[in-house]
Amino acid sequence: ADSEQTAQGSAPGADRPTIALVMKSLANEFFVTMADGARAHQELNDERYDLVINGIKNEVDLAQQVALIDQMIASNVDAIVISPADSKAVVPALARAETAGIIIINIDNRLEKDILSEYGLTIPFVGPDNFLGAEMVGTHLASKLAPGDQVAILEGVPTAFNSQRRTAGFRKAMKDAGMNIVAQQSAQWDQTMAVTVTAAILVQHPDLAAILCSNDNMALGAAAAVSQAGKEDQVQIVGFDNISALHDLIRGGNVLATIDQHADLLAVYGIEFALEALQSDLPLEDKTTPVDLITGTSIE
Amino acid sequence: MAAARLSIQNLHKSFSVPVLTGINLTVKRGEIHGLVGENGAGKTTFGSILAGFVSKDNGMITLDGVEYEPSGPKDAFEAGISCAAQELSLINPLSVTENIALRKLPHSCSVISGQELEQRTRSILQRVGLGSLDPDTRTGTLGLAERQLLEFAKSVFLDCRVLILDEPTAALTAQQASVLHEIVTGLAASGTSVIYISHRLQDVLEVSDNVTVLRDGRIVTTAPAGSMGVAELMEYMSGDFQTGNKTARCAAAQTPEPVLEVEHITTEELPHEISFTARAGEIIGIAGLSGSGRSELLNALFGLTPLTGGAISRHSAGEKVRISNPGTAKRSGMAYLGEDRQSMGLYPGHPVLTNMMVPGDLQGVASMSLLDNRREAAAAEKLVEELSVKCDGLDQDIDQLSGGNQQKILIARWLYCNSDIFLFDEPTRGIDVGTKNMIYNLMFDLRHEGKTILFTSSEIEELMAVGDRIFVLSRRKLVETFTADNWSETEILAACFREFATRTPHVH
């Protein structure tokens, strides 16, 4: 179906712009939802633009994302909407795109300002505030705990900016509420790894009261480990991303809450922005998209 | 001894060139049929077709009156044809027992029946003269002669109608060979037909009922063994008969100058101290029974096994170099040829050219480490001609050469590089008589140039024909040194057995 889209794009006479959506791992539900949202939007607006969607194989493969940007320049797209795998290292490639006259919109993960200005780029950012989201779910969790309770944090890939922001948000919420952070380890965004790490943390800290996970895959893993240890009643879990697989667990009370950053709309905001920019020369402002707390009551 | 067991009509086989052409042959029940021919004549190919390793192109084979066309080795031995291969088919990590029985491991519901197996193995090891071998030993740790006997044991383990033996005695001493011959004669008497391929023509004549000579893939004659002599066979094999010029040995000028000094060396395998001095321009033969440590001694001399005591030094131009590893050995002008060409010599999957030129120091074809491909090819071409190697060209894959021709390539390897001391372990294994004489002449030439050669052989006649001195090892001990003027075959043989005299003999 995707290649058809490109084929359509080449239809003679069509002067619709082509927008390239460049993302991180398309193997991750969050980005898949994002891509699906974009695709649905394109179908509704077929007359307005064409869409090429690309992701990298593995979230940390920066060089591949840079290659993707170059490839999009080579295939002559009009705009690039990018969720950067790294907030610094893709900037030079984006500068090349800008030189080639391509409009660039930054979504999901904010590019570093200093480096943008070094290249003389002004790229508008559309996306959620990860720190805020993490703080929000953390504060909600704290309201169910007593000060001094032991909590643990599961990080994603430690080099990932999102992971770092969420961890910071978690830490702030926990500090503010007087919780005791006894462990902080990376489970590499991975579910199986999360079970292993959580199980070990539970052994080491038998009195643990809560686990804060930087994404929902790890929350799923943490929930499996907690149930294997028979500590469902003792340990609260929160996640981030609001993937559908987590809903059963939230309903069942195994997971307390997660954050919805409206993945399905994230790319759409970016695309709309790009379309606007293609039509007018007005400078674009950054735009923060909403993050919402999801709990058992909000799912019903 | 009546009915035709195996009858072959108009058999053809070619690879890129014809290898067997119009073979017609009948082998009777209980007959031992000798098959001889020069290296590359097609003997192994013939045996391989019967054993189902390769398929024929054309022709008709009948076994006991029934048409026989095996689709693979399994088919062949289910039909009753068993083969002891020239390039041994033993599997190193498996035990002796498992190897012997590999074609048909006794089992119930696939679970191996250990006890039954062990008994049968022990009795068969006893028969081939390996009674003292532990059936649980991993095959990979055994010496070449033992491996060759195992290959034989493996092929007679199952009852068979036709037994093909492809150079079964190439690595065996005369004593071991005669044990094997006794078994073969016994099998024939009980009705098994045997095809016996060998370059030891005297043996072939003694054991066989009839002999067939192959030349370039065609049968030149089939005749009763009794009606022929070695010289006649050789004439048939080569088409134009000439013996090697053995008188060359007298022309050798021996200089007393020592080139290799071995002082009181011992290794894990050679517990008794060994000392001797080798001089420029002499050929030293090393005799011994199987397992007596001949290979071990050459390995130690080339620095392949660590010494536990003593020292080896190389003298040249007033300098003295200690040999401690193969690198120093080679740099100081030593060359080594291992006994097992498959594992110690060949580079499988590589062309003849590479196999010939790699190991040498590539002097003369390389300057400053850069190869000159034209000079390299020319040098290789010359050697191929000199040793009459039968191959389709320097580009041919070494795996496709016949066993004897592979051996020639390995010898050629060392003739080219500028070595002064040659350590050759069974250099003539699997080589036909004509070429053997050629190799002896090459050795004499080397000696004439003041080079030194130490070589082993399981044939005492060969050692006596070429050597200036003969060292005898017995039970890993250097027991005696003979010189050309004071030796006789019986004395040498007696020395070989000396260390066994008081203990249970190892070899029957």
Binding site: - | E98, L105, V111
Partner: protein, 314 residues
Amino acid sequence: MRSLVKENFIFASLILLVIFFGLAADNFFSLVTLRTILNQLPALTVVTVGMTLVLIVGGIDLSVGSVLGFCATIVGMAMMNWDFSIVTACFLAIGAGIICGSVNGILAAYLALPSFIVTLGMLEMARGMAYITTDSQTMYIGASIQKLALPISGTGVSPALVIALSTVFAAQFILTRTVPGRHIVAVGANTRAARMSGIDTKLYRMVVLAVSGALAGLGGIFNAAYLGAADPNAGAGMELAAIAAAVIGGTSLMGGRGSVAGAFAGVLIIAILQNGLAQLGVSEPAKRLITGGVIIIAVFIDSWRIRRDRMRTG
């Protein structure tokens, strides 16, 4: 007996590791730790058994991790979307594994392509199929499958672990005591000679890869049970862990030599290491450094065995 002595050295590494973590982490010596580790074993164990057989026959199977992931998603789909019973779902998953493995096997054995490349191709393709099956979504399954991974009441061991251990025993028995087992070793050690002995070398190569696929399928079930969910990314990178476990346990990458029991010891080392490091809560870079070091030290200790063997037999 002989093989016990043989594996001694690898068990020495194991004991050293346990002692180290026992001293370094507070609660390491506890029943909970033991249970935690035992729970982690089944998937990697069965995958490693398959890998060991493939390595012994002289091949390699890089696709195990992806096939595991693909089969896990099959379990998820079968139970959640197609409403099959857990038993049917498991059969489907193992069937899917066998198909992937057989494709590997046919390409590697009968078309004589290098198994490394064939299974590398399958690594990509099976992962692609895993994404397609669940539309790249993690699929929550819940308690129905988790019971496979939870201790059978009163025993402390889960059905998954029992099955995994049985696999180890069966494979070790087959390898050392049966005709096909000895044939596998023969094919791996010297294919030409094995063929000359009438062994159908291609069939063995093919079957062993198919078995590895089936075991990866079983591993997928265990993974789904462990997570209570079907994760299309499950098993990523597991091929390297399985090869490492096999090689630490004395299996040669050149074929013809290996032990399933040793490979299981390798799995234990990896599991204990992961668990111990997580209990210590060391940082990610430190985890990497220690993991790398332990892997090297484990084969180093094991290499003494080989050296001694060599000395002993000359």
